[in-house]
């Protein structure tokens, strides 16, 4: 719920800067390996949007996949449902290169 509220606060801040009246679309990206579940976030928006300048807005949530790489061996395929950050080739620690994002990408305003 506080994540959804933060998204709306960021959107309303941008709208204020541009004296925009309504927002029609909010596009955000949420990493697969973040503490946020897409469905729960969608529900939170449904609760928070009414009676705000975003009441009619579509919220598009793009889920960014988990990616990881090894300093020696390069990109290593990683699955969130069996996460293993030990490189299967050389045994060193993998670095997470994607999947932790939480970002507001753009707004469509009128």
């Amino acid at each position: 719920m506080s994540i959804a509220q933060s998204v709306l606060d960021i959107a309303f801040g941008e709208m204020e800067k541009r004296a925009a009246g309504r927002v029609q679309k909010i596009k955000i990206t949420i990493g697969e390996f973040s503490g946020v579940v897409k469905e729960a976030l969608e529900f939170a928006f449904d609760v928070l949007k009414p009676e705000t300048p975003a009441s009619g807005a579509e919220v598009e949530i793009e889920v960014a996949p988990l990616t990881a790489d090894c300093a020696k061996c390069g990109p290593i395929e990683c699955r969130l449902n069996d996460l293993n950050l030990i490189c299967p080739i050389c045994g060193s620690t993998l670095h997470i290169s994607g999947g932790r994002e939480m970002r507001v990408d753009y707004l469509d305003i009128e």
Binding site: S6, I10, G35, I86, L94, L107
Partner: protein
């Protein structure tokens, strides 16, 4: 209608408060620990045992986070340590602004070690920086060996993992070896401390490591920088 690019981190407001907190903690020389776990893993008991062994050597304070009640803050106050309870109502984690408000309730310059006991929750607290030096996760071994795989985020974010209630292992059918292997796979760098707060087993190893961390002033950022 037109499109405006935003490209803004959703947690940026929290990050600003966390940076402010970190700056204040640095200014006053307070080492700060964020203690996280699922409900019932034994955070408060681990904290009591840790305080018992450290309170003669440090000037301690504790911030307690819970949805409701002051039961935990009362337990800490009973040890003669200043404590402040944040009741979050319906919010399932502490955020940096709540901590910012709470530190005004302390004479922060009188402290050099502050524990923040987060709301019991295995997911959300892991996403919110508070301005801490260390994130410590407490996990109850009897909750099963597979949880690090099912809920990897908090295990991944922890700077150390305390595996509590090992005295109950013989009755639980949980393999400590398998649990440690699973923690290691989602977090290859954090030290792991199997402990029992009931018998005291393992607590000395945890305390020795923790004292060294404080002494070296090893901040979270420096640790991650050297691990990368």
């Amino acid at each position: 209608m037109h499109m405006i690019p935003v490209e803004t981190d959703i947690l940026q407001a929290n990050q600003h408060w966390a940076d402010d907190n970190r700056e204040a903690f640095l200014r006053y020389g307070v080492y700060v620990v964020n203690l996280m776990s699922a409900p019932g893993a034994g955070k408060t008991t681990v904290l009591e045992k840790t305080i018992g062994r450290l309170k003669d050597d440090y000037r301690l304070g504790v911030i307690e986070g819970d949805l409701v009640t002051t039961i935990d803050a009362d337990r800490i106050a009973a040890l003669g340590v200043p404590s402040y309870q944040i009741t979050t109502g319906t919010v399932c984690h502490l955020d940096a602004r709540m901590v910012h408000n709470a530190i005004h309730e302390f004479k922060i310059k009188d402290l050099n070690l502050l524990f923040i006991e987060n709301v019991g929750n295995l997911v959300c607290p892991a996403e919110f920086e508070l301005g801490e030096d260390l994130k410590i996760m407490v996990y109850s071994t009897v909750d099963g060996a597979e949880k690090p795989k099912k809920y990897p985020l908090m295990f991944h974010e922890a700077d150390a993992v305390i595996l509590n209630k090992i005295d109950l292992l013989p009755y639980s059918g949980v393999s400590l070896e398998e649990l440690i292997r699973n923690v290691r796979e989602v977090n290859p760098w954090a030290p792991i401390f199997p402990v029992s707060c009931l018998t005291g087993e393992g607590l000395s190893d945890w305390i020795a490591w923790f004292r060294l961390e404080i002494a070296e002033g090893n901040t979270r950022m420096r640790r991650r920088a050297s691990a990368a």
